[in-house]
């Protein structure tokens, strides 16, 4: 039993990691009051940017950073359209997804099948010795370990810094933030661009750690799962981690079942994460927790007068 479960849980952590980054990035964006449905597109663009940088420079860390920066760039486009031009957030986000997927498929053609230096698993000193826990959590690559810390920083940022409080106020009621002398426009830019950075890190994980080669369709629907998870998590980072691992688990389980050669058609198994997405959304709705959403989410700040 354990021989089956421990590798499954370890794989869960691995496939949950990019979802953690993407979910927290989307959560950051939404905390500022902006809905970004371009997560899927940002993930792909960032994955390619990270892969290309790592291949060119030979440094996976530079690649990781490049993924984040590519995410920031995509976030900046979204911010400009929604915050400055007062464009529709849903439309802009969907356009970003289509743009990102198309762009990566097009620019990625020469690299398909090529390897790049990435992050390899290593045993984390001491902690990996813990029986069970060590095997599940501490025999991964560096980016997984980073993903353990990011939610804590995220939580601390919103709970214990004034900037985090300002972003929350902007997402809840921009008029109140403005009346308090804050600059809601700038704060929204900050939230969207920082959120883009976090999503970008998730993209970098896909091409530098999850695989070490370039293939098309790396994002594989994780962006959409992240959008759903933000709702599932009620905009709280701790629950986002739980949700990300839940999905990671289903993805890993599904792969394992296929490898074991069940009679179930593989397309049915591939469907599992998305069936779970719908279930999760129905459950969240049934519990009526939409009220936890930032009150001004999805609405633009109209200029005064």
């Amino acid at each position: 039993m354990w021989e089956f479960l421990i590798p499954l849980f370890a794989a869960t952590v691995q496939s949950g990691t990019p979802i953690i980054y993407a979910t927290l990035g989307e959560m950051m964006t939404e905390k500022g009051g902006v809905l970004n449905l371009g997560v899927e597109g940002i993930l792909s663009v960032a994955a390619l940017a990270a892969f290309w940088t790592s291949m060119m420079t030979g440094s996976p860390w530079l690649g990781f950073l490049a993924g984040g920066i590519a995410g920031m760039g995509m976030g900046l486009i979204h911010a400009f359209v929604c915050i400055t031009c007062l464009g529709n957030q849903v439309v802009s986000g969907l356009a970003l997804t289509i743009l990102g997927l198309g762009l990566t498929n097009f620019l990625g053609v020469p690299f398909v099948g090529l390897p790049a230096p990435g992050f390899s698993p290593f045993d984390f000193p001491l902690l990996s010795q813990i029986p069970g826990i060590g095997d599940i959590f501490f025999k991964h690559d560096m980016l997984v370990y980073v993903s353990f810390i990011v939610p804590i920083i995220f939580w601390f940022f919103f709970k214990h810094t004034s900037l985090g409080m300002h972003v929350t106020a902007t997402g809840e009621m921009p008029a109140a933030a403005s009346a308090a002398g804050l600059k809601p426009i700038a704060l929204r830019y900050f939230a969207v661009v920082c959120g883009g950075f976090l999503i970008g890190l998730g993209g970098a994980y896909l091409s530098l750690a999850y695989t070490h080669l370039w293939t098309n369709g790396l994002a594989g629907g994780r962006g959409w799962i992240a959008v759903a998870l933000v709702i599932f998590a009620f905009w709280r980072p701790g629950r986002a981690v739980v949700g990300a691992y839940l999905f990671g688990g289903v993805m890993a389980f599904q792969l394992r079942l296929q490898a074991m050669g069940t009679n179930l058609p593989s397309s049915l198994l591939l469907m599992l994460p998305y069936v779970l997405t719908i279930l999760v959304l129905i459950l969240s709705a049934a519990r009526g927790r939409r009220i936890d959403a930032p009150a001004a989410l999805g609405t633009n700040i109209e200029p005064e007068g």
Binding site: T161, L163, M165, T168, A169, M173, A176, A180
Partner: protein, 509 residues
């Protein structure tokens, strides 16, 4: 519920006290409308100044200038004797002037302490617990009873107002402006607010209290300034007020500005009957309107006019068998009502309830008349356009383009457009709320004449705060006070003019 009893204090301003803020000849225009006209006002430390005036008298404009939201066209604001120019509300806050708006600027999901300290945290890293002690201490200093750890969404309106006050106190505001602060409060909360305001003056704060509620102003204020049609009508000492009726008539004004020639029309059948309507804040209201007459509901705003209009027009449901329209019970009337030869409503909120701001005049015409333009599933837009063009001509609506959007029209033209649409329906009962508020003289005259002409087919019920309007248009005037009709007066009786003021103030002899 007993009203707040004001502690006794010398109301006269001590000799040689310097005003903390002086407004000198402030004028503000919006297009052709003069919202504030040469206003001069002094505010002294430790005192409560009430600004009394009807809706649209210019109170909010005046205070927005003081709070730095608008810049005056003429005149200066002096703080501690120094002329100052505010370019934003931030400047005003820095000068110690803070305003509590009617709509609270609070983040619902945050705590009281977080809201008070938002933007004033003092450091990058913050500690919610420390926030709560800081704000708790401030609340205690001013005797305000509120839990700093509570979430705004769990608070009552009165408590939310205390949070707004705490925000100002934390920012060391010396002059606190309250814009109709009691509108959202229960009587107990109002009393508590007044006690809090009183305590703040004892700590040297100045308070400007904007209201149209006479009792409150008399109970609370050290000085009363009456604002009417953008001008200071007079400043008086609450102790020297002879009667509430006098104050009411000074606030509303009685001089005749405009007259129309109203010929009596043929009185026909009853089109609206309100029978012993109690509930929705109304107390046993009896009223009827016959075809060919105009009945005016007059009263200080907020005395139940809104509930009465909503009950008649179908916006909210009155108790069974209390409202009859064109002879039918309310429920039956609205179940079977047709688009024309029925009831029409001209709301006070022209650009929200009456029209769609971002739609053109054709679409706005279709809002209430679409049944008249439908062919099966389809709308006959061509015919609607043709009729809109005719209406624009007939009512002289400018700009004379059917594709002009509603928000682009001036108040007068928009009201004419609404009137054109509603009269197109050949109504039998017209309910018009503040039909000429904010309009200039010629537009007012036009609207009055149209309403009078409509009597050929319809009975008209108007709700107005303008006594002159009521006297000019109405055959009968019903005075409403705290949800009760205190009297229905015939305008052909010369004594009526003198009786309206006292009734509006709730005085029945």
């Amino acid at each position: 519920m007993a009203m707040f009893v004001r502690p006794v204090r010398e109301r006269a301003i001590p000799e040689g006290t310097q005003p903390v803020v002086s407004l000198k000849g402030l004028t503000k225009r919006f297009g052709k409308v003069v919202a504030n006209d040469g206003i001069t006002l002094d505010v002294y430390p430790g005192r409560i100044k009430a600004l009394l005036g009807e809706n649209g008298a210019g109170k909010s404009t005046l205070m927005s200038m003081l709070a730095g939201r608008y810049r005056p066209d003429e005149g200066v604001i002096e703080v501690d004797g120094n002329p100052t120019k505010f370019s934003s509300s931030k400047d005003a806050i820095a000068a110690g002037i803070g305003m509590v708006y009617q709509h609270f600027m609070l983040v619902d999901s945050m705590t009281v302490a977080e809201n008070v300290l938002l933007g004033q945290e003092g450091s990058f890293f913050i500690n919610p617990k420390e926030f709560e002690t800081r704000v708790g201490a401030l609340a205690k200093e001013y005797g305000l009873d509120i839990d700093p750890a509570a979430r705004i969404s769990d608070l009552s309106m009165g408590e939310r107002q205390l949070v707004e006050i705490l925000k100002l106190l934390y920012r060391k505001s010396r002059i606190l402006i309250f814009d109709e602060p009691t509108a959202v409060l229960t009587p107990e909360e109002t009393n508590r607010l007044f006690e809090a305001l009183w305590r703040m003056t004892e700590q040297g704060k100045s308070i400007i209290f904007i209201s149209h509620k006479l009792e409150e102003v008399i109970a609370l204020a050290d000085e009363i300034a009456i604002l009417r049609r953008g001008k200071i009508e007079g400043e008086l000492d609450p102790n020297a007020i002879e009667s509430k009726a006098d104050l009411a008539s000074r606030m509303v004004g009685r001089e005749v500005l405009l007259e129309v020639d109203r010929q009596p029309a043929d009185i026909g059948e009853v089109v609206l009957e309100v029978k012993n309507l109690t509930g929705l804040g109304l107390v046993s209201v009896d009223l009827d309107v016959k075809k060919g007459e105009v009945v005016a509901i007059v009263g200080v705003a907020g005395n139940g006019q809104k509930a009465l209009v909503e009950a008649v027009t179908g916006l909210c449901k009155p108790p069974v068998d209390s409202v009859f329209i064109m002879g039918q019970p309310w429920r039956k009337f609205f179940a079977e009502s047709t688009w024309n030869r029925s009831m029409c409503y001209i709301p006070e909120d022209r650009l929200g309830l009456a029209t769609l701001p971002n739609h053109n005049l054709v679409d706005n015409l279709l809002l209430t008349t679409r049944k008249g333009f439908s062919r099966g599933w389809l709308l006959d837009k061509k015919r609607a356009e043709k009729d809109t063009i005719e209406l624009i001509k007939k009512f002289d609506i400018r700009p004379g383009r059917i594709h002009a959007l509603a928000w682009q029209l001036s108040g007068g033209n928009l009201q004419k457009a609404v009137l054109a649409r509603e009269l197109y329906r050949e109504p039998r009962l017209i309910v018009a709320e503040q039909p000429t508020q904010g309009l200039d003289v010629s537009a007012t005259e036009e609207v009055w004449n149209r309403l009078l002409a409509a009597r050929d087919l319809a009975g008209v019920l108007i709700v107005t705060g303008d006594i002159n309007e009521a006297l000019q248009l109405a055959d009968r005037i019903a005075v409403i006070y705290r949800g009760e009709i205190l009297g229905i007066l015939d305008t052909s009786d010369p004594d009526t003019v003198g009786k309206i003021g006292p009734l509006m103030a709730g005085l029945v002899d």
